[in-house]
């Protein structure tokens, strides 16, 4: 055995690791003869001893163990264990918090209800208002339609009706032609009991059984309620039905206009939209 082969086993000699007896014998023979290998063996022993005696074992920091165990729990549960602990001792919210929350919900609900009611009431009021305003006119229309009343001007000649109406009105009404309808009559009435000059004009159109009463009055002096005036001034067309009659209220710049008919609201709307 030579030096090179001996060095291959040198660490095993130092560490007293198992070497088969034949090899061990040859190693010992070589080392006994070879001073260099003998020194080398001694130095390696010293090296080992020095490392063993001087290099300390470093203890694991406790927080590392804790941290790893916690992380494993986190992986297991899908959420940190600390969070679980936090939640478990306090499962129900505090009573005062619950009460405050309920109160909040009640307040919000109530205020929403009040808001809805006020909107509804407003609409209801408006509807009532419109109906109150329109009822006299509808009654007038009804009595004409049923033959209980006759308009002052009655003629087969629309031109005559129109001229008569304009001459009595005291303002300039709008001449409205409704397709397929024929102007058959008109009535001109005092707007107010005290205003002799300014009047309102009702034109009556007819097509078969269908009658349309077309009311016009100067917006400024009309008896219309202020709320309705505001609405029609904004360009709103108010459609509704009353006692089987439909009606529409709208406005131009100077005139407040009304149409009443014994047809359905939708049909009235169609007819009026052809004109405007």
């Amino acid at each position: 055995m030579d030096c090179k082969q001996t060095r291959e086993f040198m660490s095993a000699l130092v560490d007293n690791e198992e070497i088969d007896s034949q090899t061990k014998q040859k190693l010992e023979e070589h080392i006994w003869r070879c001073a260099t290998c003998r020194i080398e063996l001694e130095l390696e022993k010293k090296t080992k001893q020095t490392i063993q005696s001087k290099v300390k074992i470093i203890p694991v920091p406790n927080e590392l163990i804790t941290s790893i165990l916690n992380q494993i729990k986190t992986i297991q549960n899908g959420y940190p264990s600390s969070l679980q602990k936090f939640q478990s001792p306090n499962p129900a919210p505090k009573p005062w918090l619950e009460a405050a929350f309920s109160l909040g919900v009640v307040i919000v609900t109530l205020s929403i209800a009040v808001l809805f009611i006020s909107i509804y009431e407003h609409k209801l009021k408006q509807k009532d208002l419109v109906i109150r305003e329109i009822t006299p006119l509808v009654n007038q229309f009804d009595s004409i339609a049923k033959g209980f009343a006759k308009p002052e001007i009655l003629s087969d000649n629309p031109e005559f009706v129109w001229n008569e109406a304009v001459s009595r009105a005291g303002f300039t009404p709008e001449l409205i032609r409704i397709p397929q309808f024929k102007m058959v009559g008109a009535s001109v009435k005092d707007l107010h009991s005290n205003s002799k000059n300014i009047k309102c004009v009702n034109l009556i159109y007819r097509k078969g059984d269908t009658l349309i009463l077309f009311y016009q009055a100067p917006l400024e002096t009309s008896r219309l309620h202020e709320d309705i005036k505001k609405r029609i001034l904004k360009g709103e067309w108010i459609y509704d039905e009353i006692q089987n009659n439909s009606f529409a209220i709208w406005g131009t710049k100077e005139l407040a206009c009304c149409a009443i008919s014994n047809i359905r609201k939708e049909d009235l709307e169609k007819i009026l939209k052809q004109r405007w």
Binding site: E8, M10, S11, D15, T36, E40, T47, I51, K54, I72
Partner: protein, 221 residues
């Protein structure tokens, strides 16, 4: 293993994990704590000596244990758990540090080959002086000398001389034959000694002409 297979395995793993009931999860956790945690001292010490600092050692151990827990059902009970954990740590270490250093082992390995050809380089004189250096050496000098060794030599020196593992154990940890453990350990210790000798020279522990102590110059032959 191909990437596809790996992904399939991971999916299987996840599915298996999900099927575990709470009791089974708790059992798994307890089992892992009982089996794996006791080896943390050994692994931490090794990690500390390999990385040279507490922070990196902690990171390495943490990564190792979380990986080990994730793949716990791949561990066969009754087999060498320390070797199993060590291999996980070795892979983590290689992934982390191999890339950072420029293949340190390769250059040094050639050096070691040369060094092996050189066996008649020591005399009685120098050996006396060499023995002298061991008395004056400090722990941090050994640590520093150790850090200069290539990974494969450092690993066996730490395992054998600091952690006190047998060659058989080391062979299992590193998946190498016992003969390789033997020769690496011998070379590792010799390289370490040379580093220590350099320290001693620089610090003046040893007096005399430098060539008197130039015991181990691979360039010589």
């Amino acid at each position: 293993m191909k990437l596809n297979d790996k992904i399939k395995n991971l999916i299987k793993q996840k599915k298996r994990d999900k099927k575990l009931s709470d009791d089974e999860l708790l059992k798994k956790q307890k089992e892992f704590e009982k089996e794996a945690i006791p080896h943390m001292q050994f692994l931490y010490n090794f990690a500390y000596r390999m990385t040279g600092n507490e922070e990196d050692a902690k990171d390495l151990i943490q990564e190792t244990y979380l990986k080990a827990f994730r793949f716990w059902d791949q561990y066969e009970p009754g087999t060498n758990i320390r070797a199993w954990l060590f291999k996980i740590m070795k892979n983590s270490y290689i992934n982390k540090y191999r890339k950072a250093t420029k293949e340190p082992g390769k250059v040094d390995y050639d050096e070691v080959q040369n060094f092996y050809e050189t066996v008649r380089d020591e005399s009685f004189e120098t050996s006396d002086l060499q023995e002298h250096i061991f008395e004056n050496i400090f722990e941090d000098e050994i640590i520093e000398a150790l850090s200069k060794l290539p990974d494969e030599f450092r690993t066996v020196v730490i395992l054998a001389d600091i952690e006190g593992q047998t060659y058989e154990e080391i062979a299992k940890f590193l998946d190498i034959p016992i003969g390789t453990v033997r020769s690496r350990l011998h070379r590792g210790r010799k390289m370490l000694r040379r580093e220590l000798f350099e320290f001693a020279k620089k610090k003046g522990y040893i007096k005399g002409k430098p060539e008197d102590y130039d015991i181990d110059d691979p360039e010589k032959d």
